[in-house]
Symmetry: C2
Subunit: 323 residues, 2 copies
Amino acid sequence: MKWVAGVDLGGTSIVVGLVPEGGGTPLAVQRRATEARRGPEAVVEDIGAMVADAVGAAAEDGQDGHVVGVGVGAPGPLDLKTGVVRVAPNLGWRDYPLRSRIEARVDLPVSLDNDANCATYGEWWQGAARGYASVVGITVGTGIGGGLVLDGAVVHGASGAAGEIGHTTINVGGRRCACGNYGCLEAYASGPNIAARAREGLEAGAGSVLVDLVEGRLDRLTARTVYDALVLGDEYAREVILETARFLGAGVANVVNLLNPEVVVVVGGVTQAGEHLLAPLRSEVRRRAFRAAANACRILPGALPETAGVVGAAGLFLQSRNG
Amino acid sequence: MKWVAGVDLGGTSIVVGLVPEGGGTPLAVQRRATEARRGPEAVVEDIGAMVADAVGAAAEDGQDGHVVGVGVGAPGPLDLKTGVVRVAPNLGWRDYPLRSRIEARVDLPVSLDNDANCATYGEWWQGAARGYASVVGITVGTGIGGGLVLDGAVVHGASGAAGEIGHTTINVGGRRCACGNYGCLEAYASGPNIAARAREGLEAGAGSVLVDLVEGRLDRLTARTVYDALVLGDEYAREVILETARFLGAGVANVVNLLNPEVVVVVGGVTQAGEHLLAPLRSEVRRRAFRAAANACRILPGALPETAGVVGAAGLFLQSRNG
């Protein structure tokens, strides 16, 4: 069997899996922490070892095959032509020739694309957005990224920078964002900013089980803690998630009015809140967007929660090879 | 010579011109007020008469030719498949089969598209955005519309509603918009909203030549008056235009970060302010958007100030006929 190794390189972890050339569930999925502090060469070495480990694990599992190439998704901005990571704040890299270094390490052809583009393409190729002609992906985690897949192709834009829905302004005089802008969607609705907003309310005196969950150490509060409190029936946590859904809904309504897509697929850690988040998000989109555009658009959670990036990176490798 | 009649149907006026099949400046451009109150049949009758008048005027001018079809741009939302105007608040129409009625009147094939799509396509085909692969048009007038032309084709979206940049939220808790949403770009930067913001400041006591220009009747103040005051060196008018540029810049930065286009072309009445508006708009985009995306994008005024819609409607007729 022929496999493409999909690599999802994030600031927190690296995920690698073997995707059958014709599509399907990735085999022998490997995950390890990204040790960015050891420098990019060490990360490339880890990726190479993980691809080899995956092939070994598949063989042990009785799967016979070989890897024909490697598709990599990495945080941007990237130079897609040269395969260079221009700036990756979460990795501390600048102008690192990631594609050629991995090629040298694995001795196979390698493709490189933005991580959010990979996740969106993965959901289009094998996931929740399968078969739709116009797909917007939004990845909500440590940051907020996005991708556009039109007629089965990722829209990269003039300089490979398209899809940055997290850095669209929804509040013109609003919160400072890590990108330097003010009032970006990410400044309200990424994981760390959900936690920051929850903390602000608690510091202002809101009563909530959240304080107990972090044993009074508000600096330990994360988006995950907010979901845990939500599941415990905490009213304040519910408010924080509702507010998050409203911000995300405003951002999604903007792409709905601008692109009138068939599907918006929401992926990433924040979607663990499930319908608690998605139902009010859909309401906000209906409240803000034109009826013709809102009615035409399904807003779906991703169907590949752990592996959309891996599957999409492999799919984009295949697409790059087939022209 | 073969011509396509381009028709730009707006809430205020109808413009018709004869566009040579191979492109070029429209001949015998006719303009008259839209008498929407007389009902849609009267407007269709006017359009038919204007096409005939244009052919007559061209003949008098020694131009020999005939019209092979009619391209129409109309305010939306439209049903592009059936050629029906679903809702046109500025015309007071609902579910009117505009395309088939014009076809019956002129006895020629007719195409119909959204007015802002036509203006953007016109600027791509024959104007400021000629030859670029990814073009976002933004039309700033009584309302704010938009269009996307990727690889020479208008992006219509799943239900023909794409391109509504005027109705993207830039201020999540902001001004109520005519569309029902809150904080839309249009609620700040359309002509009437520029006038409304200027009025609010004057009512709050700002000193300005504007008060004299409208002889104290603030209800008569329009965006045009604000430009007139700007040209007279009025400091308050300059502030209003700067603020307008900042709002437009936030909206344009959003499409720049989302689509990473080669060109954003700004068309419509508000662009009469020229570089007074465009220079601070470009600064705001650079301040808000990612460098890679901002650097890749030219922000240009339209090159066809009176006829982008006419030229684009004719161009889209030709494209619809050639499949």
